[in-house]
Structures are given as structure tokens and as C-alpha cells.
């Protein structure tokens, strides 16, 4: 089945120790998104890629970076995690906006714990 896969599902890191979360998709979608979701809150968009075109949200901290080496994979790098970065990180994809009708497909998320 075509899907959005996130690894790992659970990640524990230490305060200040860099961490990378990964997302892959078999949907061949143009657009990939990273969201941060804290407990009982709505997902907050961090950034997205339209093909190789990177788009950062204005309020995304510099501590967060992203890479998209090819259509299928996208990575979220947190350079120096703080306690406030503990959250669920969701990856999502969508087709070309002209065709998608707005629907995004979400992965299961990676829950990040910062000790």
C-alpha cells in the first residue's frame, strides 16, 4: 500500500544532542511537510518542500533544519534539542496543489523525548 512512513516512531535524545527524524513516502507526491504537535494541540507547520523548493515558516526556530535528497525522503534535523522541543513530529505529503484538492496524507509520527 502506498503510504507515508516515519522512523523511528519513538526517539529519545539528550538536551543539546543533535537528532534526525526521517520520513519516506511511496505516494510520489510533490510536496512534503513537517509539523510539530505538542500534547493536545493542533499540528504546527514547521516547513515544507515543493519538489526541491524549501519553504520555511516565519516562526520556525533556526534550531530546526530539513533536507530532501530525493522525492521519496525528507529529514528533520534538530541541531540542539531543548526541553521545549519534546513533541510529536508529523510528516505529511500532498500532490501538486493544482491537483490535490487540498488533501494531505500523514505519517504515524515520531514522538521525541528530550532528557
Amino acid at each position: 500500500d502506498a503510504m507515508v512512513i516515519q522512523n523511528p516512531r519513538y526517539q529519545v535524545t539528550q538536551f543539546g544532542k543533535p537528532v534526525t527524524l526521517s520520513c519516506s513516502q511511496t505516494l510520489n507526491h510533490n510536496v512534503m511537510y513537517w509539523y510539530q504537535q505538542k500534547s493536545s494541540q493542533a499540528p504546527k507547520l514547521l516547513f515544507h518542500y515543493y519538489d526541491k523548493d524549501f519553504n520555511n515558516e516565519a516562526d520556525t526556530p533556526d534550531n530546526f533544519q530539513s533536507r530532501r535528497p530525493n522525492t521519496s525522503f525528507c529529514f528533520l534535523d534538530i541541531r540542539s534539542p531543548g526541553l521545549g522541543d519534546a513533541a510529536m513530529y508529523l510528516c505529511a505529503t500532498s500532490r501538486d496543489p493544482a491537483e490535490s484538492g487540498g488533501e494531505q496524507f500523514f505519517g504515524p509520527g515520531t514522538r521525541l523525548t528530550v532528557l
Binding site: 494541540q41 493544482a98 488533501e103 504515524p108
Partner: protein, 116 residues
């Protein structure tokens, strides 16, 4: 600014009953989409139903239907014959397509508990 408001943080319903979740939004756009997403505990978010703003007819997907009132900027979700598996957080979301992204604007969510 585009905003989405869900005024019911939590709701509960008995199995087989009907429940309605409320959502209002604010936008000056005329062409947009509205969504209800479901996020079960520890499981991934999935699309429940979608409504195109230019369509007057309310969307329906099996037990799920919406009441879309464009002038009032209201988009409520009705779940009929509620099932235990409907227990989840429900997010109302809005999007207006731009040239390179479909940026979802989420409401704060309604936690729905279905009990036997």
C-alpha cells in the same frame, strides 16, 4: 488572517447515537477547502471528509456528513451511529490552494469519546 475555531474541547457520545462537532472559520478567500481530520490515540491522522467551498451540496462519507454554511463560515461534522472506533481527536482544517503548497490551518481540536 485565516483562523479556525473549534469551541468544544471535549465531547462524549454513547455508541449508536449521533454527535455533532462544531467548527467556524474566518477567511476573505472565496475559493478554499475545508476538512475534518481524525487522530485516534497513538495512531496517525486520517482524512474524514472534505468540502469544496464552491459546492453548495454538503459532503457525505458513510456515517459522516457536514453542514457547510458558507455565509456563516460554519462547518460542522455530524457522526451518525457512533462507534467505539470513532474515539479520537477531531481537527477541523482549512486550506486555500496557492502555487506551491496546500497550507493547512487547523483548529485546536475536539476530543471525542464514544462509550458503550
Amino acid at each position: 488572517a485565516q483562523t479556525v475555531t473549534q469551541s468544544q474541547p471535549e465531547m462524549s457520545v454513547q455508541e449508536a447515537e449521533t454527535v455533532t462537532l462544531s467548527c467556524t472559520y474566518d477567511t476573505s478567500e472565496n475559493n478554499y477547502y475545508l476538512f475534518w481530520y481524525k487522530q485516534p490515540p497513538s495512531r496517525q491522522m486520517i482524512l474524514v471528509i472534505r468540502q469544496e467551498a464552491y459546492k453548495q451540496q454538503n459532503a457525505t462519507e458513510n456515517r459522516f456528513s457536514v453542514n457547510f454554511q458558507k455565509a456563516a463560515k460554519s462547518f460542522s461534522l455530524k457522526i451518525s451511529d457512533s462507534q467505539l472506533g470513532d474515539t479520537a481527536m477531531y481537527f477541523c482544517a482549512f486550506i486555500f490552494p496557492s502555487y506551491n503548497t496546500d497550507k493547512l490551518i487547523f483548529g485546536t481540536g475536539t476530543r471525542l469519546q464514544v462509550f458503550p
